[in-house]
Subunit: 338 residues, 2 copies
């Protein structure tokens, strides 16, 4: 049952995304359109199911809009779903340039294929399209509601740039603290996931107290999601399969386990501070970080944040198909192996 | 009298811009805030009057809002003015990266000072701030009006990316036509100037017919403004003062006079097609283009577009201080020497 609802939502999301991006499907901007359909995973070399994203954010937004009962038809929230997925993808295109990442979902990144100038502009186009999608909510929702959700949406985009600024800034300094880390991921990852939950609930007519519950649920879910990502970045499939140049230890990303290790001041910190880690050293360094407690600390943090998210989720007293789907989505986010 | 009104408006614009950007004036994002205040011309080395932009777009928006008579207080449109100036500056930060421009208003560009990754993100932050400014119009204007102006605003941002895409695309091909040029500048320059006029009039309560008059006025004004820019790019002060590496002939920008020269198929086209033009050759090439009629064609185009703009302006039957100020602004745009 839950599978069917999620499947229906995913189909609707994909259709809406295509319809929004289709406004650039015009002769004078055809290549720009192709850059976007390529990035979204619909076209170009090796376009298949896995080259699309998981569409987690629109699914969360729409599930939250459906979670307040049958009075609100979740189809009315679909442009909101498209807006958050487009903003997420805009930030991916720009992040890939900023981080000099060559691959995204196993395919060359937009900047690798079309160059940095066109990739910056393609990201900007996605941002503009996401604003238009957010304003399209007016077709099926009251004015007050759309004005409120648009404002949350724009504030969230500003938060993304705050987080990305801090992420890049911390890369260059040696004194990043755990506090800095939590603040950075709150902006960079949690803000958008939290906005999905909050916007979904507002569209469905929630009052201020309920909105706060959804917001907090999304906030902690986002933090748990990010730390899970940090764990996979060091101990995930890439390490197992030997693609060690993608490992966060190789790229020197200061994720939660790494900051823990640095602050621990043991053998891991000593080697880290000596400079770049070679692909051959990664398995030993990853093991050293386990020995020093970095993995355990990160796993406990995922659990703590997940527990907080579920605490807020329980206040919503979800049931039936929507409740099952919500727990399925959370499970998918936090138990994933890649 | 007109001077006083323009001066009052400029002071209000600058204050609103500072207040909008101030939301990033916070310890964890202090350097991001400094990048933006530097770019806006308020801080950093050599910050002075000339390092700020001319604030043409917000002035136009606010003048248009004032032009429908005393029933609308232009102060209510101030956040709209901030929004268009912020979006313009966002596009400048990204354009400078895309074009590899070292200088903007005689100071190093943001990417030259802070690197490409932080500059991309700083541009994104300005974009988010401009969206927030546009949504702040809700404080002093009716909901319907703000929903309408926001939509125009987002569509205009998409048009900017269309224009920038075409501009970069045309650089790489040899077959750009005059038609391509007109389409490109309609998106890249006219769209935003046209939106300023249209949004200003909508805020002041114009009906659909009036809105169209303002839109057309802005459209032709924007085209005239761009061609004037093209002329200055080849025959402006930079050539006179010998800063020839900034000359459009050196950077191979395909502006209106250049496309005219290429299509003319004479000595200019022959040399252009042979490849890069050295700084020493620029005076001769600029003269050759005059001989072949490229400057005349561009000047006639400015006149034609200006006449069209004034035709629509006359429909508005402006008078008094606002009318004087509007003509002063147009004069400033089209008779400038730099």
């Amino acid at each position: 049952m839950a599978d069917t609802l999620i499947q229906n939502m995913m189909t609707a999301i994909e259709g809406e995304l295509q319809s929004q991006i289709n406004s650039l499907n015009d002769k004078p901007t055809l290549q720009l359109y192709e850059m976007l359909t390529y990035h979204m995973g619909w076209s170009g070399d090796n376009a298949n199911e896995s080259s699309k994203g998981k569409r987690i954010r629109p699914l969360l937004l729409i599930l939250c809009s459906a979670s307040r009962g049958p009075d609100y038809d979740w189809h009315k929230a679909i442009q909101g779903g498209a807006a958050v997925e487009l903003i997420h993808n805009f930030s991916l295109i720009h992040d890939d340039i900023e981080d000099r990442s060559d691959k995204r979902r196993n395919r060359p990144t937009v900047w690798r294929k079309w160059g940095i100038p066109q990739a910056i502009n393609a990201g900007d186009a996605l941002y503009a399209l996401s604003n238009l999608a957010a304003s399209d909510l007016i077709f099926n929702n009251p004015k007050d509601v759309v004005i409120k959700t648009s404002r949350i949406f724009h504030n969230t985009c500003l938060d993304l740039t705050r987080g990305q600024y801090m992420d890049m800034f911390f890369e260059k300094i040696d004194t990043q603290t755990l506090d800095d880390y939590w603040r950075m991921v709150a902006y960079k990852t949690s803000a958008l996931i939290s906005a999905c939950a909050e916007i979904g609930s507002i569209l469905a007519g929630s009052d201020v107290n309920e909105q706060e519950v959804y917001r907090q649920f999304g906030h902690y879910l986002g933090l748990a999601f990010q730390i899970k990502d940090d764990i996979l970045g060091i101990w995930g499939n890439e390490t197992k399969t030997g693609k060690s140049t993608l490992n966060d230890l190789y790229t020197r990303k200061k994720t939660l386990p790494v900051i823990f290790g640095i602050q621990n001041g043991g053998a891991f910190a000593k080697r880290w501070n000596q400079g770049n880690i070679t692909p051959e050293e990664i398995p030993d360094m990853a093991n050293e970080l386990i020995k020093e407690g970095g993995l355990l600390y990160a796993e406990e943090s995922v659990d703590k944040m997940s527990d907080m998210a579920v605490k807020f989720l329980n206040i919503m007293s979800l049931s039936g198909e929507v409740g099952d789907s919500m727990f399925e989505l959370i499970e998918q986010l936090l138990k994933r192996e890649a």
